[in-house]
């Protein structure tokens, strides 16, 4: 059982959805970002999604775009992201880590090199926004062979006819994007999200996590009624941004993220009543 599968099973046994937290690696600087990462599990994060910064994040809203720019300006690289995971793993062997980002930096790193390095660092899964199932030969298949979960995004436009193709090589969990839109936009209908989760569950035994647009403990409690996991990202990256002075981290930065995660975790805990 992979770390991701184990964690979802634990949360299920505890009668609550898993809290998946996204932060941008290297935002706003390496040391602060490492401290944020290490504070997440204690604050209630079950799974860490770690953003790999990219110059052209086409599926992200402004908050995550800016987070990525700060990380890149601070000198973050894909090698740097992997080093941060390795450092984290020395202290925490249990929290699953999923790298999320875009394909080009991995392609330039070299797919085989990347998979070996990710495996060595202790990465559990990958979410690569611009690799749909049509491009599975690029990274998905090699990653699965190496025992790294490949987590796929499904969206409101992924209909029943297409779902099996999308789910075919998906592992770890399914990430349901709650809306057609970029990260950080507003969910128009929570009811529709529940229906969509049920629809996906009729096609797969994998846990289904919902993301894009979850901002508060209330959102988490509401969406968490149906979903096996809820993903928060934009609000956390925003929380980092709000504490910065002249673009630099302050003594409030790590605490702001930690407190927000703890608050959202309270919503996760009461999701199932």
């Amino acid at each position: 059982m992979s770390r991701i599968e184990k964690r979802f099973a634990e949360c299920k046994a505890a009668g609550r959805p898993a809290l998946v937290t996204y932060v941008m690696a290297g935002d706003p600087d390496l040391a602060t970002s490492q401290a944020i990462m290490e504070a997440l599990p204690q604050a209630g994060s079950d799974i860490i999604e770690f953003g790999m910064p990219f110059s052209d994040p086409m599926a992200d809203g402004v908050a995550i775009q800016l987070g990525g720019q700060r990380a890149l300006a601070g000198g973050m690289t894909l090698r740097g992201v992997l080093d941060m995971v390795e450092t984290f793993r020395r202290k925490d062997e249990n929290t699953p880590i999923v790298l999320m980002g875009y394909y080009n930096p991995i392609y330039i790193f070299g797919v085989d090199n990347f998979i070996a390095a990710a495996k060595h660092a202790g990465v559990d899964g990958l979410i690569i926004v611009d690799l749909p199932p049509e491009e599975d030969d690029e990274l998905c298949i090699p990653a699965l062979k190496a025992g790294i979960n490949f987590i796929r995004l499904t969206t409101p436009t992924t209909d029943d006819k297409r779902l099996p193709a999308v789910l075919k090589n998906t592992s770890g969990f399914v990430y349901y994007v709650s809306m057609t839109g970029v990260t950080g936009a507003v969910i128009k209908s929570r009811g529709a999200v529940g229906e969509a989760v049920d629809r996906i569950k009729s096609h797969t035994d994998l846990p289904v996590a919902v993301g894009f647009g979850i901002k508060t403990a209330e959102d988490a409690a509401e969406i968490g009624k149906h979903a096996d996991g809820i993903v928060v990202g934009t609000v956390l990256v925003d929380a980092v941004a709000k504490t910065l002075v002249d673009g630099k981290a302050t003594d409030k930065t790590v605490a702001a993220v930690r407190d927000l995660v703890a608050d959202i975790y309270s919503g996760v805990k009461r999701a199932r009543g």
Partner: protein
């Protein structure tokens, strides 16, 4: 003549939308179903005589095709080599080749029942052509344009607005074409149910590179036909500028299997190819990567972060290129070479004074390449430039560069 044989260079893309290793469909899942729909719809339209007839009628009576093939006598005498010909795409309605593609795609958008159109634009030529067809077909449209480009191509911004388009300046990055494309993709992901993304160049996820090429291939087919009628043979060389490369692939495609015809693509050399981040010559100065839905040559750093690049010409100021060009570059069928800002400005002035034609700065890059090649050719040979756009939009920018303002 068989042009679709097994060794033909005109067979691409394959079913996965690949030209060799280039192309593909590297897009978010939200867009995939639509991209597949578009491909189905395009295949159906291609076989539909009514679609072909409507496009043909619009091309003739609305866009003004065929565009003339013009013998540039003074320039020929001045350069002292091959005979110089211009394919006058700048005489099309809206002032560039962009209308060829927009007419095709707006008919597709209508067939697909889309109620809103978005597009990215660099120089504004594609934005104007899109705003034009949207006015004609009564569809609301939003044009994404880098803030830097809004400033340097103001006449086109005004034209778009007068045509009823909403122009959204994009301030991210360097405020050029790459940033406009990112923002257009974000809008598309958000409004995918209603919105048709009318991509202006032969790049992006499959089927766009193929589709845009097909709509632009009329340029090369007409060159072939017109030159044959006038000179009784094939030209010896064809030249075009390459940003994303839609006018170039449109000019080249008919000649890919004619080895006697040399093909030249002029990339934006900016301040010079050795100036870091100072040019937009993705094939000469970049390497393969994945951006905006396709694998292609890209300007990028050692970590795979995309560079902004630079060109005096907003239409060429893009760190990537259409995937078929990447394939033709590797196969060496087309020679791609960088042209600096200074060389393009010189060609701009020469063309204006000697032929009485003010070219777009983009097309002036092609002319600068022609000015290097023509003198090395024999006097009985011929070289054709795709004069892809007119330079009205550039007179203010160029005036500033030349100190006339």
């Amino acid at each position: 003549m068989d042009t679709t044989g097994i060794n033909s260079l005109r067979n691409g893309p394959d079913e996965e939308g690949r030209f060799g290793i280039y192309g593909g469909r590297f897009v978010a899942e939200t867009l995939m179903p639509l991209v597949l729909d578009l491909e189905r719809e395009y295949r159906a339209a291609k076989l539909d005589p009514a679609f072909k007839a409507e496009l043909g009628d619009l091309s003739t009576h609305y866009a003004g095709r065929p565009s003339p093939l013009y013998f540039a006598k003074r320039l020929t005498d001045h350069l002292g080599g091959a005979k110089v010909w211009f394919k006058r795409e700048e005489l099309n309605h809206t002032g560039s080749h962009k209308i060829n593609n927009c007419l095709g795609q707006i008919l597709l958008a209508k067939r697909m029942g889309k109620t809103r159109v978005i597009a990215e634009t660099g120089a504004g030529q594609h934005g104007v052509a899109t705003a034009t067809v949207c006015a004609k077909f009564d569809l609301p449209c939003t044009i994404f344009m880098g803030a830097t480009d809004v400033e340097r191509q103001m006449p086109n911004v005004l034209r778009m607005k007068m045509l009823g388009a909403e122009v959204r300046p994009v301030t991210a990055g360097a405020g050029t074409l790459k940033d406009a494309m990112n923002e257009a993709l974000r809008d598309w992901v958000t409004n995918v149910e209603t919105t048709y993304y009318l991509i202006g160049t032969a790049a992006g996820p499959h089927p766009y590179p193929e589709m845009v090429r097909d709509f632009q291939s009329v340029i090369g087919s007409e060159i072939k036909e017109q030159f044959q009628a006038s000179e009784g043979q094939l030209p010896d060389a064809v030249v075009a500028c390459v940003g994303g490369g839609s006018n170039a692939i449109g000019s080249f495609h008919a000649f890919l299997d004619d080895p006697s015809v040399a093909l030249y693509g002029a990339e934006a050399g900016g301040h010079g190819i050795d100036t870091e981040n100072g040019h937009a010559a993705s094939m000469t100065g970049g390497r393969p990567g994945v951006l905006h839905g396709n694998r292609t040559y890209l300007l990028q750093d050692k970590d795979g972060q995309i560079l902004e690049g630079h060109s005096i010409s907003a239409g060429l100021d893009y760190p990537g290129v259409g995937p078929e060009h990447s394939f033709l570059h590797d196969s060496k069928r087309v020679t791609y070479a960088p042209i600096t800002d200074a060389e393009a400005l010189e060609a701009f002035q020469l063309c204006t004074r000697m032929e009485g034609i003010i070219p777009a700065l983009e097309s002036a890059h092609g002319l600068a390449q022609l000015m290097k090649v023509a003198p090395t050719m024999d006097k009985d040979q011929s070289i054709v430039l795709c004069l892809s756009g007119r330079g009205d939009k550039d007179v203010e920018s160029v005036g500033k560069y030349l100190g006339l303002l």
